[in-house]
Amino acid sequence: MTGLEAVLLTIITAATPLLLAAIGELVTERSGVLNLGVEGMMIIGAVSGFGAAYTFGSAAAGVAAAIVMGVGVALLFAYFTQTLITNQVATGLALTLFGLGLSGLIGENFTGLPLPDPAKLQRLHIPLLTDIPFIGPVVFGQDALVYASVAITVLVAWTLARTRVGLVIRATGGNHHSAHALGYRVIAVRYACIAFGGACAGLAGGYLSLVYTPQWIENMTAGRGWIALALVVFSTWAPRRVAVGAYLFGTVWIMGLYAQGAGIGIPPQLLSSLPYLATIAALVLISGNRLLTKKNTPACLGLPFVPDR
């Protein structure tokens, strides 16, 4: 494996969970709901993904469990904020705390267990294609979730921009009263979008415990949910820019480690903060068009909707 190839592979693994969690949150926010519980949903996805993969000895079971449990806790959030009309910020924060605590409880019996080989998500290997030097392993040699993250991003971008469903989601987030008046079921749309966000966050968590570091450790998301949240805002709710942001973050982060390993005398504290600075700077620059920003920002973000009866 050449040096550059190793760098690219590492960057892709670092960016994928961020991209997955961010693209899910983007859909949730475009429908007008601010869910600050990404970190909580991720960690639940991580623990249930690992638990299922370990128990059933199958990676597919792990991925499925991560998604299902992510959706489960997301629906809990939806029930509180959409049906009981609780405050979204407070409920989201509570979801994060709840997720961290619950995952610790569920995961108690899984800590310190190594994942058996069939339960690990394998990298793709297409004869001939994967063997092409350099391009092969990078383009054709990833695990299924990397391709899934790219596919989901493309699908979300296309759906939001080009389809009726996307239009309804954007209308719900832009002006829920109008959407309601037009006969769309605002609450139902939001339930669906929150569930989608939960599925993506759960999957992102599953990626951590099945691929990134195949094991369950308490607190293993280590703040990645918050980075994903920030990516959504700084990319001004545009799927393409979320992808750019996630990969930029991953790239700068890994290059920082490379610089250190190569013995370049830049203080590591600075290098650790560089991914954040670079991502914010880049996304603010490419989001410089204020008209576009305004167009994308969901006007009803975080506002409760109570249909008048």
């Binding site: 590492t10 670092a14 610790g104 800590t111 450790i217 308490e218 490379y258 250190q260 013995g263 590591p268």
Partner: protein, 355 residues
Amino acid sequence: MRKVFALIVSLALLLSISTIAFGDELKVGFIYVGPIGDHGWTYQHHQGLLAVEEEFGDRVETIYVENVAEGPDAERAITRLARQGAGLIFTTSFGFMDPTVKVAERFPDVKFEHATGYKRADNVSIYSARFYEGRYIIGQIAAQMSEAGVAGYIASFPIPEVVRGINAFLLGAQTINPDFKLKVIWVNTWFDPGKEADAAKVLIGQGADIITQHTDSTAPLQIAEEQGVVGFGQASDMHEFAPNAQLTAIIDEWAPYYVERTRAVLDGTWESTDTWDGIAPGMVRMSEYQNMPEEVAAMARETEAMIASGELHPFKGPIYNQDGEMVIGEGEMLDDGTLLGMNWYVQGVDDKLPE
């Protein structure tokens, strides 16, 4: 609602009074910085708690709080243990130092034990382990096992404890291969499996074929296993996670100390002390030497025995710093004060120490 609340409060009060009234056993409290399930630092402290329970049975009762953040939260957690009637409290992270001393002032009858700090009081003892002795041994093993002559070191924060470990590792390696290279990556965290794994991948990509760490998760060793290089466990035996990659692990053995200190309180002989023990008294232990040729294992065992007997001191002169200046001459060795405040690299580290 208010009635229910009042009922709960009075019940809680009743319960706490009853435990004080009936409990003539000693309550021993533990404050942990991480989860017990980290399989590293906190896990090892918890093994100490279990040993105390095992040794004294009904004569003691143990309580612990996990995941206590370093800072104001710690003060609250320690106070709570003291209020609950703990007679002896172990606070097991460097950042609990000031909170421990503060709470100790308010509870003069409670004995406190703080790990890895330097502030003592009449009712506050301090204790730590000479992990660097183990680092010297793994440095020697690394130099024997490495084909590239380069090791990757994943470091947490640039504090003396960590710098001392890096220096000891390299000094050990240099006794085998004077040109041995060490690449250091600071990840600025004690615990983030993802970051630690990334750092390991990067180091291996840059040519290191030995991975060692001063962070708490098992992730770097797993990456080593995956990529076919070797490494060392940290704080606890991690061989389950990397059956082919772990050469040995430096194990923190707190249990005997915890048992001895608990006994001292029970006997009424407890005094404020300052303990810094290494391999000889068994506070630092090496796990089984494996995945290496027998002669390397034999060399490691011999070094271990020499350190235990005091024949060998990892920081024996001559030692040069990165600028090539002699820090200590032939035949002398660095004293504990210098070791405790170590903020410079020895010659040969391929890194600039962060300020």
